[in-house]
């Protein structure tokens, strides 16, 4: 049966939906309607394609990592180079699509949340490009950890608001962005950074990221004359993975692996593994798997990579987990650090800490695969932003 999700109410099986205050409902319904029109409009699609090609630098290469493959001794490993996009990660794809949609809807202001700052930078970038006012909410703790990205956003003309509430991380930045949107909904569009939030956001973000999988599908067929045996991507909220997986969902022969952040280990409380250790619940407008206590209070997530440090996950991932189409697993901080160094040394590619989780999983999976097989890893972003974190984690000594 052909995969079809979400339904017309924005539900993915038991997940998804629109759990937001009434004040936001009209804006969300309007967005749903306007989005449906936009993706039927050739002019809109042509404009999106134009900027993707000329501004973002798409399509991104599907690179055969020969030395990395040989070192692991398993399958041929291809890397989808989302790190080569303008601003250094896949985040710009969605930010651009949604900003164009906002312009189409006549909105003049953009609000966004950011964890590490990648989505904030991408949003500030497209706002500069299209002449939109931009305000970015960022947890106090993340502002401290990512000073350079804060300055980068300011250089691009955005206002960065530090969020003191709660744990001062991504989850609290989303809360504050939602509060800002509730208050300024008349003239403001919320560019949410991942496949999370109330419908239609998870669908919009998936669609605006799905060129990752569509390009990969075509590129691998050009290079290998076949589909890959397995595809791996990392998951925080889950936008690069959803964009990568979605065009492969109906290809039963392609195994899909989603990798969450195991942090300091699932036996500790410091991880972000929502799909195996979370429970179904409602946060940020969606029903999904959440890290929460028995009273339904949301717990803090942990990961060395700020982009995976989120106690929820996109509702479509919860659904794909439920129906067993994607296999979800996790990688710890230490394993990700190891993988980051390995790829840097064998290929001269410094992956983002987020993407390093996918690389680390590839290193594990490669052991169970043979030389005839083909494995694709989504390299969602570059690691330049993480150099300081990595140096601190390795105690200033790259030899560990």
């Amino acid at each position: 049966m052909t995969y079809q999700a979400p339904d017309n109410k924005g539900h993915y099986g038991d997940f998804g939906g629109r759990f937001v205050p009434e004040t936001l409902m009209p804006a969300i319904l309007e967005l749903d309607k306007e989005y449906a029109k936009a993706i039927q409009d050739d002019d809109f699609l042509a404009e999106f394609d134009y900027y993707l090609k000329e501004y973002v630098g798409r399509e991104t290469p599907l690179y055969y990592a020969e030395r990395f493959s040989e070192k692991l001794g398993g399958p041929k490993i291809y890397l989808k180079r989302e790190d080569l996009n303008h601003t250094g990660a896949h985040k710009i794809n969605n930010a651009l699509g949604q900003a164009l949609l906002a312009v189409r809807m006549g909105k003049k202001k953009i609000v966004a949340e950011t964890g590490a700052g990648q989505h904030g930078v991408a949003t500030a970038t497209v706002c500069a490009l299209l002449g939109l006012e931009c305000i970015v909410f960022m947890g106090k703790e993340d502002v401290r950890r990512q000073k350079l990205n804060v300055f980068r956003m300011e250089l691009l003309g955005a206002t960065v608001e530090s969020v003191d509430q709660g744990s001062g991380t991504l989850k609290d930045a989303v809360n504050e962005a939602l509060r800002y949107w509730v208050t300024n909904v008349e003239d403001t569009h919320y560019i949410i950074g991942s496949v999370v939030g109330p419908h239609p956001f998870p669908q919009i973000v998936r669609d605006f990221q799905s060129m990752i999988g569509t390009e990969t599908r075509k590129q691998i067929q050009d290079k290998e004359r076949r589909l890959p045996d397995a595809v791996i991507a990392c998951i925080g909220g889950g936008s690069n993975s959803m964009g990568m997986f979605y065009p492969f969902v109906n290809d039963e022969s392609v195994k899909l692996y989603g990798v969450e952040a195991g942090g300091k280990g699932v036996e500790t409380d410091k991880h972000s593994v929502t799909l195996q250790y979370g429970k179904k619940g409602v946060l940020h407008g969606m029903m999904s798997n959440l890290l929460q206590d028995k009273h339904g209070q949301i717990k803090e997530a942990h990961s060395i990579s700020a982009g995976l440090d989120y106690p929820g996950v996109g509702p479509e991932h919860s659904y794909l987990n439920d129906i067993g189409r994607v296999h979800y697993d996790y990688i710890t901080d230490d394993e990700a650090l190891e993988a980051l160094q390995e790829l840097s040394r064998t290929e001269g590619i410094l992956p983002a800490l987020e993407s390093s989780h996918a690389i680390a999983y590839a290193m594990k999976l490669a052991k169970q695969m043979n030389k005839e097989e083909v494995l694709v890893v989504c390299l969602s972003g570059r690691g330049d932003k993480d150099v300081e974190t990595v140096r601190d984690a390795l105690g200033g000594n790259a030899d560990g």
């Binding site: 939906g17 205050p21 989850k171 809360n175 509060r179 208050t183 409602v282 339904g296 209070q297 949301i298």
Partner: protein, 263 residues
């Protein structure tokens, strides 16, 4: 119990020529042991019903005052289950109708059917769930119906006419008219169109219409109740109760007792 108790309380107030006054308090702010005494105080001061807030880690509809009260309650270990247990203990001594205000996730964590059952045992008469719009309410309405607990719907300034009509028709107990485009919290004044908005709701709704969000002074109460049946006051009361400054709370509640003011 339930819907009828709310209906009776509102009818009594409105028939007297008064306006309804529903104070919001954060359950367990200052300790759950104080809850019963706080409810008695509000009842003696003349509240029509109480909106009892349940602390949640991620309260997106709330402004700073209620967020902070929630954080204090959570630090004290307050949970929805704990509040319900406390209400069960004090059920016999209580006459004031209770409306719980909780985000959906704490309910979901207990289990919706189980939650409705415990609400019934605890004498909870109505529910306000700020993150449950019309489109998703089916998740809970069958269970609430079973125990005759009112689901109070919220209308917003941004709601278009056809939604307003649907909300006004579906709501039970009363209609919660959100009077600001924003979060809860003290405001100095309101948008000009609030009066028209309230009057329109009043026309379309068979149950009382109460204005809430930003209502914080006796002047607000008088102004707004020209266009509706009563008010809900949250942040201001949470703040005063926390500071132990109870006189202004009495004055606020008294400002809705128009029959006394006039006589």
């Amino acid at each position: 119990m339930g819907k009828q108790k709310l209906d009776a309380a509102f009818s009594a107030v409105l028939e007297r020529g008064d306006k309804a006054f529903v104070p919001y308090i954060m359950a367990g702010d200052g300790g759950l042991d104080k809850l019963h005494e706080q409810l008695e105080f509000l009842q003696d001061a003349g509240a029509t019903a109480v909106e009892l807030g349940i602390a949640f880690s991620d309260p997106v509809a709330d402004g700073p005052t209620i967020q902070e009260a929630g954080i204090r309650a959570l630090k004290d270990g307050v949970s929805l289950r704990g509040v319900l247990d406390k209400l069960i203990e004090t059920k016999q001594e209580r006459t004031l109708p209770i409306v719980l205000m909780t985000y959906l996730n704490p309910i979901h964590a207990i289990g919706i059917e189980e939650f409705a059952k415990v609400c019934d045992e605890a004498g909870v008469d109505g529910l306000i769930i700020p993150d449950l719009p019309l489109e998703e309410e089916e998740i809970i309405t069958p269970s609430l119906k079973k125990f005759d607990i009112a689901l109070i719907r919220l209308a917003a300034l941004t709601s278009p006419e056809e939604r307003i009509a649907e909300i006004a028709q579906r709501t039970e107990g009363f209609l919660y008219a959100v009077t600001v485009t924003g979060t809860t919290g003290v405001r100095t004044d309101f948008q000009e169109n609030v009066g028209t908005y309230l009057s329109k709701l009043q026309e379309q709704c068979d149950v009382p219409v109460l204005a809430g969000f930003g209502v914080s002074t006796p002047e607000h109460v008088l102004d707004l109740t020209e266009h509706c049946d009563g008010v809900i006051v949250g942040s201001r009361i949470v703040d005063l109760l926390y500071k132990g400054d109870r006189e202004p709370i009495k004055e606020l509640i008294a400002s809705a007792q128009l029959s006394k003011v006039k006589s």
